[in-house]
Symmetry: C2
Subunit: 398 residues, 2 copies
């Protein structure tokens, strides 16, 4: 059982916490014989420095780290050095007789090509290594403080979702419904911003899908798509009325402190067909089954296949995780970004480990009705998993 | 004088419009002797294809283009080809006897290093060229349809801002005030999402700054900073009360159709010092002066220096564009992203051209009072500039 005290203030990131996080990266660097990392992408700086700066963390495998900052101009500290351009890092290392690393890790899956080349050019004799998978691996095992932040986020997320019925009125569109839920989330403290790994996925605060719009494929690899309100953002609501006999699924990201909690709930408008309740029940049963099997050592692809087998027996395979275009996962790690490790999907051989946090989202889309199913956020404990998002899971009438 | 009819439906992007846009890129490719471009970043696909897909536009200098799509799976057309992985582009070119290009342009400032290398590997004998500046140049001159979309966005932006006084109540925090303005923007049709070029800048929908929080530097290169509500998003409001004698500046992005209109307005709480009105007047005078000088052929850095000279004479130099950390620009191009070309800043020798759209934002931050100044969006016409954002510009009492 995890039992954590969240830090007194969200801004108060303890030096020891940052040391733990950096050491997780260092251990992996040691295994791969990497001498130094240059970390500059926002989420990775947030992870290793407790705040976002425009700058570079020079993380050395032996622990002598330096933070080089372009902006803001008001941060000071023993190992903090103001710079104007990245080349000054090399000048600093040379002037301080810090040995040139033989192997340097850069965020190769995050840095744009031109920027990567510019940083790599500082170390012409070094092997340049892709650090993204390694940092992701470190980030995938949350510390107690990170799990505490997730618990805080989950509580706020639940408080907002519990107020959803209060903002509904008859004749509303999915768009109006979404706007009022976003507003509830903001009032509960949501930071709004929705961080996603990779250059291609985009969404505003999350998605609200009703009726057949939930069957619409999107360019983005979310569990469900939706046509969206405009070709410039082809995902989520499309202005459909919330109609009698249909369902509406709310899946708005819960970023209250940097950690993005993930939770979906389904509401019904008027009387809906029995089939919807049956399909919803299948999703809840999948959730229960996976939650029972998920524990340290459980293998992601096996969890996925177990879920798929259950859905197959239920007869809902053609509607599982989308219709016209089906998502090929049932869960995903969450953290500072919405799509972290582990991914519960075919061919993913990752073993669950204590401290991993993931969203599990078995969902079924029924033509003419809409989406049903569930999504909760879970933390892997020493013996199993614990739910973070405690909120009514049945289809709630609006 | 521009006079445009916006497209009947936002989704209805005409083939001729896309042809115009692609041809603008082709002309630049011809000049640089580039045979083909592979375009895959969201805003560039939106620009060239009228929609975002997960896929790749193979744009050939001779006009035989092909769109290769991974997602969504429901798009069809003569030159649309479903693929699973980028390598299938090369297979397609080979199978259709399309000559291998000798020079290929990739989005080198946008594509992550690993992805760039994977695409570049398809053309081992070709010169691989950075296409980002060239696409930016094409995008910087808006078509009449794009300007029409800006006019639509500006009108909606103004409608939302005009309602700001109605949501204010005494004792409100900057955060509560921001949330209600965001809500107004969403109700007027804002898509919410705020696209920024580059990996390092982030913001939710925009910023609301009051009192001394407006003096706080941020890691991001916006005109003003603000501490932010959380270390994970260090920009904008920080929970300060809107206090008697202070100002509050609203600078929320106006993305109603993909094109991000930019506008800031200042409000006063109770009675504020005369100094604030004087400083505001300086900003309005700078705006008037620059608007009078801005026309085709005007050079960005000269406009900037003219503004700086005016501010110097006014005595507000130490407070112009921030205090502890001052932004080094007074305006920036806008389009599908908030930070496009031209940038009105020192050392920028870009000449204004008809069809460019930019935000001009002279702002002054006064200690203990807060920010004053103005921001409007402007389009360059054949003879000068026209304001897009028509909305009261004085400091409005709340």
């Amino acid at each position: 059982m995890y039992s954590f005290t969240a830090p007194k203030s969200k801004g108060q990131m303890l030096a020891t916490e940052l040391k733990i996080r950096r050491n997780k990266i260092r251990v992996l660097m040691q295994q791969k014989k990497i001498d130094a990392a240059i970390i500059t992408c926002n989420v990775n700086l947030l992870y290793t420095c407790g705040q976002i700066v425009s700058g570079y963390l020079y993380l050395s495998v032996d622990g002598a780290d330096h933070l080089f900052i372009k902006r803001p101009n008001n941060l000071m500290g023993e190992s903090i050095h103001p710079i104007r351009k990245v080349e000054q890092i090399k000048t600093f290392l040379d002037q301080n007789n810090i040995p040139t690393p033989q192997s340097v890790m850069l965020e190769a899956e995050e840095l744009p090509y031109t920027e990567y080349m510019r940083i790599a050019a500082l170390f012409p004799t070094a092997d340049i290594v892709n650090g993204t998978p390694l940092i992701h691996e470190a980030r995938s095992i949350k510390t107690p403080i990170e799990i505490g932040l997730f618990q805080e986020a989950a509580a706020a997320h639940v408080r907002a979702y519990q107020q959803i019925p209060s903002i509904y009125h008859r004749g509303m569109t999915d768009r109006a419904f979404s706007i009022e839920i976003e507003h509830l989330m903001r009032l509960e403290g949501s930071l709004g911003i929705f961080r996603i790994f990779g250059r291609s996925m985009e969404i505003f605060m999350g998605s609200v899908l009703t009726g057949d719009n939930a069957t619409q494929p999107s360019p983005y690899d979310f569990a469900l798509g939706g046509q969206g309100a405009d070709p410039s953002l082809p995902v989520g609501f499309n202005g459909s009325k919330l109609k009698e006999g249909q369902t509406v699924m709310v899946d708005i990201g819960g970023n209250f402190n940097g950690y993005i909690c993930d939770m979906s709930r389904v509401f019904s408008i008027g009387k809906i067909k029995e089939e919807a309740y049956a399909a919803h029940q299948v999703c809840l049963a999948v959730q229960d089954k996976i939650a029972a099997l998920a524990k340290p050592g459980a293998i992601c692809q096996e969890l996925y296949h177990t879920a798929i087998e259950m859905v197959k027996k239920s007869g809902f395979t053609a509607y599982f995780m989308g219709m016209e275009q089906q998502a090929k996962f049932i869960g995903h790690g969450i953290g500072l970004e919405i799509n972290e490790s582990p991914v519960i999907a075919p061919r993913i051989t990752t073993e669950l480990q204590p401290g991993m946090v993931f969203a599990l989202e078995p969902k079924i889309v029924l033509p003419q009705i809409g989406p049903v199913g569930i999504e909760n956020s879970w933390v892997v404990t020493n013996t199993g998993v614990e739910k973070l998002t405690h909120c009514e899971e049945s289809i709630l009438p609006l």
